[in-house]
Amino acid sequence: MARYGMLLDTGKCVGCYACRVACQMQNELPPGESYIKFYENETGVFPNVNHEIVPVQCQHCEDAPCVSVCPTTASYIREDGIVMVDHFKCIGCKYCMEACPYDAREIHHATGTIDKCVFCQSLVEQGEDPACVTTCIADARVFGDLDDPNSHINQVIAEQNAQHIAGDLTKSNFYYVR
């Protein structure tokens, strides 16, 4: 069984928001609802400056606080590592939104249930990459099987010394090169 993960290289990311809109189209979200949030770091003093955009979405944690706090077991982890929300079980209590250290969850505009990035599982099941990966104009995102030692994502993690954004906090399956 695969264990899916994603990597994002902020050295390549230009903060163009293509991933946000591609994700919204794929998941049919209204303009104000986004599964990806963007954080900005400006450092230094003119003219010695640096700047980084850090897109953050569900980190698909193995030790997922959203899953452990969910009173109805609506939030769950699939065998392939993708963290999901069962909309039929979700009562919209928002405990998971509070528990998620990455602020990665949104309230669905029509149902009031909780939504978030699910690594475009319907595309992944067809052998495609998630929409944010496919559309990325800077090749900043890599998606793949973390259990396969030969996968491209594992190669990039090793070569670029990719790290989790919050260390071992939640045993996430999302890696950043920064």
Binding site: Y17, M25, E28, P31, T135
Partner: protein, 732 residues
Amino acid sequence: MTKLTRRGFLKASTATAAVATLGTLSYQDWQKQAYASEGEADAEVQISSSTCNACSNKCGLEVFTKNGKLWKIKGSNIHPNSLGTLCARGHGFATNAYNDARLTSPLKKNEDGTFSEISWEQAYQEIGEKVKKIIAEDGPQALAITQDPRPSGKFYSKRFMNAFGSQNVYTHHAACNLSKLTAYAHTIKKEPKCDFNNADAVMFIGRSFGDGIKPSAMKNLANNVKRGLHIIMVDPRFNATAHMAKDWLAIRPGTDLALILAMSNVLVTEELYDKDFIENYTTGFDEFAEAVKDYTPEWAAEITTLPASKIKEVAEFMAEKAPKAFIEPSWRAAFGCSYYNSTETARATILFNALLGCYGKKGGMYYGDGVKFGKLEGPKFKKLPEPVAPQYGSDRFPLTPTGSGSSVVVAEGIEKGDIKGLFYYQSNPVIGYTNAEDFGKRLDMADLVVVIDVQMSETAMHAHYVLPDTTYIERMEVPSSTGTVADVRLQGIPKVHENTRPVDQIFTELAEACGIGEYFTFTVQDVIDAQIAPFPDEVKEKLLKEGIAKVPVENPKKPDGDPHFPNDDNKIHFADDVWLEGGLGRNIQWIEPKYMPNPDNIDEFRLIAGKQSIHSHTMTTNIPHLIQITKDYDLDRVWINTKRAEALGIKEGDKIEISSEVSTTPAIAHVTERLHPDCIWTASHYGTKSPYLTEGAGLGISSMDHTPFHMEPFSGSNMSQENLVHVKKMEA
């Protein structure tokens, strides 16, 4: 009893909504319905091909529809500009078909300035009568058209005007890259391609692939930086691509010419130029060497605010990496149309690249043949009449390529009474090309202004007639090409509004009404068939089915050592009398910008502007999915350097007032270390003035509000960054 599941409830509620909704659904309303059908076995997903229209790159698209409505789009893997990816603008712009602000009927302006819906027949008849009257009184040279180059728009606009005998066909380039185009036209004729994959050092001047996007170029650059490509970013602003650069040269805006002259000086005085290349492929080098001898790094340091040592270091580094090094040709950026010295700056970059000897070399710049389309011949395509007069403005700007022309000088022509009737196709000069108020006033003096668009733009507000186009994704268009790939925009979704008409139909019918119908006895399909006629059958078939196909090209040149300049003698002319005709010198020289803020005035700045990745010109600010990003991340704020802001008591998010000789506008400040202290910066998309475009209302400023109506005397470009503004904090 039927169990009411959540999905069942959703379906029931959207069915009620559908009944309650009159007319066509907005994208969001439609989306609510579409969500309800997600996962249902009967949601029929269809995939077709098209090309994007969110910018001029025309990326190939796969269009996914669900039950006949747009669901999503994906970048084509085979189109050279998308390479499987797509930017935010592309995704968002596709939804424009369902935008609430779509024009759905021809409109006529009333005496009181309001607009009334009229029939197509009435619109054509009245426009036709007015055009005939203008021609009878002032000749066809009193007519002009401006279009933002897109496949069908470009073809039909030009043929429409030429059929009258007028050559007054203009592009938006006066507000984009006209200075650069002018410089290339008289040095090496046209712009070469860049071999990023083999280059070792590239200097960008003002251009940022992460802000003004061509997806494949960004992807290529990001991967080449990982490979070790050294980027030098020259920009007053630490732009969205600057973090990939090894050097950020935070130059004082308007002084890029001084930097390049000084870099040239370093290469000449230290004899670091490519002597073989100079010998074999250039003329006038000795004059050039003499001309740059006083432009030392120390001289340029004063002007640019860059350290002399850095200028010298960068020049030497480029020379060391030559010929696998070049100054990227840029687009709008710093010398497309920005300053009084932009044409001379573009000319300087072309000559500096000659010193590096990079033309025709691996890792440098090179030429290659593109797709050659078939001619429009035969009984369907009547031969166009001889023009009655040269393009308006071409006597004043003799160096400017007439394929673009200065669309700004046209406005002056209205005031002088030379131009009486104007057509605008998918272009918005009132807010985008020069000072909005000034351009608008001039348009109001014309006898006839016709705007063809999908939304009520600021220019449409000044029109006598507004004709509603379909959006790009609802129609088929004439072919275009990128390198050796041809594309035909195919219809991706059914027409949304019954009374809109595609651009080809509008021009064909307009031509008939204006008495030139004999030149338009063909369909868009006829144009496609004629243009792709020379291609092999399998290519034709692929094009008509998939919209994109690689075309066999005779000479797809690669860097082989010979530059293959497209000019007559295969040489770059360092000095040339041709420039005298346009008011420049035979030799390159330093030219001051028109304005320079006085450093002693703590409230005085230059206002500069640039692209933002999520918007295209001023045409995307009414697209909900794109403008929401602006709102979520305050992207409409006006940037000001931290120290300058402190001196004026301005903090992040403060309300400020920006005033200039032409206007006063409020704005919100973004205080940052990422900007040169001499300027303030805004994205160039905001400051919407059309009351019909409500999504972006009240957001940001238009830089053109503070830029006077003026033209660079050498090319006719709009000098978009020649201004002086004063900034103060507004009381809360």
